[in-house]
């Protein structure tokens, strides 16, 4: 990948950068759904940032009760209705976006580096005992559905957002390790790695400067594709009662509480469910676009 830069040396740096951005955007936007995804992601992020401004009743996301106004169906005053405690569902849905993003970003930003380090080591030392040990441990972590492992781990802690993030991270890093191991092992025998070894470059240099850059696109693709999956898993943990605690708004918890009041109070379930679908769909489509951008050959 990095080798194509030489051809463009004749252009000025600025031009080259512009050119690169344009080409990336072209690859990204070839699929219209990716653009939809991008718009969705921007929307979700904006909502998460400006939650206090956007929510009609920001105080309803905090310690607040108003039993006189409980379980109101959607109306002009409360567009998404109110819950069993008299809180505005719309405000709570808006406030839950930030937690969902924190969950996704937090887990991936911790799981990916850990997994990448182990994957690089295992890939570089392929055939040596250290690689075998790492990959067997990875196998152990992947020998269970991630959700099951995360559930078992979250039983260790009191239920909070942070703890469920830890539990998911614990079951997630191994995927990165396996992924990076694959690409690192294949790059390891390329001529430029061999030549770096010949001229006596340090191991750290080889791993970080020669091998890692060649795994970037795989890692980035996986990271963007994972956002949606991790957010889904987080919501599933909250759904069974192992996530954020009341009165913190959380989509999974809202659905878990709401579906017990079906069919009368349908708004308590439908709106949070649609919100999850929106967030995850936006990230999935966006991830597809990123993957097209990073992995497609020159058009």
């Amino acid at each position: 990948m990095g080798k194509t830069e030489r051809k463009t040396r004749t252009l000025t740096r600025g031009q080259a950068r512009m050119d690169k951005v344009k080409r990336s955007w072209y690859r990204f936007s070839r699929n219209k759904m990716s653009v939809v995804g991008l718009v969705g992601v921007i929307f979700v992020v904006l909502v998460a940032i400006f939650q206090d401004v956007l929510a009609p009743y920001p105080e309803h996301a905090q310690a607040y009760t108003n039993y006189a106004a409980m379980k109101l169906a959607p109306c002009a005053e409360y567009l998404f209705g109110t819950d069993g405690t008299g809180r505005d569902v719309l405000s709570r849905v808006i406030f839950s976006f930030r937690n969902a993003l924190i969950m996704g970003v937090g887990v991936i930003c911790v799981a990916a580096p850990i997994g990448v380090v182990f994957g690089l080591l295992a890939g570089y030392y392929k055939g040596k005992w250290i690689s075998t040990v790492i990959m067997r441990v990875v196998d152990i972590f992947l020998s269970l559905p991630s959700l099951v492992l995360a559930l078992a781990v979250s039983a260790l802690f009191s239920p909070t957002l942070f703890h469920s993030m830890m539990a998911i991270t614990f079951s997630w890093w191994a995927w990165y390790a396996r992924l990076v191991y694959g690409s690192a092992a294949s790059v390891r025998n390329e001529y430029f790695v061999k030549s770096a070894e010949l001229i006596g470059a340090s191991r750290a240099h080889i791993i970080l400067r020669e091998i890692l850059p060649n795994c970037w696109s795989t890692i980035l693709t996986k990271m963007t594709m994972d956002m949606g999956v991790v957010i889904l898993m987080g919501s599933t943990l909250s759904f069974v009662g192992l996530g954020a605690q009341p009165p913190q708004p959380d989509l999974g918890t809202m659905i878990a509480d709401g579906y017990k009041l079906l069919p009368e109070c349908w708004w308590l379930t439908i709106f949070p469910a649609l919100a999850i679908m929106l967030i995850v769909l936006a990230f999935n489509l966006f991830g597809d676009g990123i993957s097209d951008m990073l992995n497609s050959k020159e058009a």
Partner: protein
């Protein structure tokens, strides 16, 4: 493009709906089919109850309300209680206490047979007490430290030797299920020597069988799913013709199913853990009523007195004044009543009606807060409030306190905690949350039972006490009361202890929580359900023998 997509989605959903409704047929209907586990219809005179299982079927280890209910129906006890809690002779005809209060002698009936046809004798009673003491699980704490051992002196006389005086001993015997010694010992698991020459003391066998003489006998059981019991025709008391022919307890917890089954009569009585929403819906069904049995349960917010800032008496009082009791009993537990003090009015010796010290009063709360030593650095503390994750309505109680406290600058973090974790947390003052919501339930009908179980130092660290009072003065008051054999004096001592507790304010006594169960009031007469105040004895309300089906 967009239009096309929407149309496609719609058509797909419609196709799916058609497909599924086509193969659906009629919704599950009942009645016509005869089933293996008794009938469902009223003419079968069968009672169907739902509950949270698994069951702990051995009377020496069961402690959940359904376990205890089944014990009342399958086993006999030395004494029994009327609906209002009055202790009456049952297996025992009469009894004497030695002047030093250390020996109890019971004379028992000679006309009782066990379900296997063998005769119930004094040795069976002694065996049951000694077994309960040795195993030490379930409700054995009632006798642990008080009863030394029991022995049969002749086939109809059993003697209990005490370690110390215990004035309420006779009342606690409503918890001693009489087991068939011969049958139990014939079925011990000889590969397990946990209890030495008693092997496993029949625990394994008793977890799926009964060895009782009670009005109903076990027919089929799966501890996780259901238990079916049928009438024991040779029961020593008279059977009314229209008494239930049997009962089935099933593990069903979903509100939706319970509502459906109540509306078509498949279920006779629901469990007592339904949310207010479900109860309201049940109450609207034809021929269904919701009970309001006050059985002595007080919903408590228990404050850890060994942790800052709830170690400060004024801080605790401030919280007690901050709680909006009215919202709790009008919106969350609609139709219940405010609790006046530590001991529910259902108990003999309760003075809750006189006390009623704390009410919602923000001004008073501010005053108390100003007196507390944390008045100036409230911001340094965040209180942890834990409640049982299984009880949704408790979350609302937590939210009420949280929002009121927030206005005075007190931060409270709420955590829905699985019951098992609450028990684990109770082990030390450090791990116990600042506030824990709990509704302790009790075993015999005197105020002393609550005081001992909830506030005595011996129970600190169990799920019945999250306060960690460890107050020697209070212990002394409770101990002397329980040893006092004069009834009036004892009641007076209970009153003193309650006043002392009220001043100490270790708990926000929220509401008196009635046992609310939906039941088919149009189909049968259930005496316990009709009574306003019930015996504060967990499990006692589900006594099937005296239910009468209407013709």
């Amino acid at each position: 493009m967009k239009k096309k997509t929407i149309a496609s989605v719609l058509s797909l959903f419609m196709a799916a709906a058609l497909l599924l409704s086509g193969c659906g047929g009629t919704p599950t209907s009942s009645g016509s089919q005869t089933q293996s586990q008794g009938g469902t219809a009223a003419q079968d005179q069968w009672i169907n109850v739902n509950a949270s299982l698994p069951l702990n079927y051995d009377p020496a280890s069961g402690s959940s309300s359904i376990d205890l209910s089944i014990v009342f129906n399958v086993y006999d006890t030395l004494v029994f209680t009327e609906i209002d809690g009055t202790v009456i002779p049952h297996v025992a005809t009469d009894w004497e206490v030695s002047p030093d209060g250390l020996t109890y002698t019971f004379h028992i009936r000679d006309d009782i047979t066990f379900h296997d046809g063998s005769k119930l004798e004094a040795s069976d009673v002694a065996f049951s007490m000694n077994r309960a003491l040795t195993i030490g699980e379930g409700l054995a704490y009632l006798w642990d430290g008080y009863v030394d051992y029991a022995e049969a002196t002749d086939p109809t006389t059993v003697v209990f030797h005490m370690k110390s005086t215990y004035a309420v001993f006779v009342s606690t015997l409503v918890r001693l299920a009489v087991l068939n010694e011969e049958l139990v010992m014939a079925n011990v698991d000889t590969s397990d020597t946990t209890y030495g020459d008693k092997y496993d003391y029949g625990k394994k066998w008793l977890s799926t069988h009964d060895a009782g003489s009670g009005p109903y006998m076990t027919k089929e059981i799966s501890v996780t799913d259901y238990v079916t019991c049928e009438r024991f025709d040779d029961y020593w008391m008279e059977w009314e013709a229209n008494a239930p022919k049997g009962f089935t307890v099933r593990a069903i917890n979903e509100a939706a199913t319970i509502r459906t089954m109540m509306s078509n009569g498949e279920l006779s009585i629901t469990d007592e853990w339904q949310t207010q929403d479900t109860l309201n819906a049940l109450g609207e069904l034809d021929g269904v009523d919701v009970t309001n049995m006050y059985t002595g349960v007080v919903m408590c917010m228990e404050m850890n007195t060994k942790k800052a800032p709830t170690d400060d008496i004024h801080f605790r009082k401030a919280l007690a004044y901050l709680f909006d009791y009215e919202t709790a009993y009008t919106y969350i537990y609609a139709g219940t009543k405010k609790a006046g003090g530590p001991v529910s009015t259902a108990y003999q010796g309760s003075i809750a009606d006189e006390l009623n010290t704390y009410s919602y009063n923000v001004e008073k709360a501010k005053e108390e807060l100003a007196k507390s030593k944390y008045a100036n650095n409230l911001g340094d503390y965040a209180l942890e409030l834990h409640y049982s994750a299984d009880v949704k309505d408790e979350e609302d109680l937590a939210l009420i306190l949280q929002s009121a406290a927030a206005e005075l600058g007190i931060k409270i973090n709420i955590t829905a905690t699985p019951f098992a974790t609450l028990i684990a947390e109770a082990a030390t003052p450090e791990t116990t949350a600042h506030i824990t919501i709990m509704a302790p339930s009790d075993s015999y009908s005197e105020a002393g039972s609550v005081l001992k179980l909830h506030y005595h130092s011996s129970t600190a660290g169990t799920f019945t006490q999250f306060e960690w009072l460890l107050d020697e003065e209070l212990d002394r008051m409770i101990d002397t009361a329980l040893a006092e054999s004069n009834y009036d004096l004892r009641m007076e001592m209970y009153a003193q202890a309650q006043k002392y507790l009220d001043e100490l304010c270790p708990t926000i006594w929220v509401i008196e929580q009635p046992e609310q169960r939906g039941y088919q009031s149009g189909t049968f007469y259930w005496p316990e359900a009709e009574a306003e105040v019930n015996a504060p004895i967990m499990g006692r309300s589900l006594y099937f023998r005296t239910i009468q089906f209407y013709d």
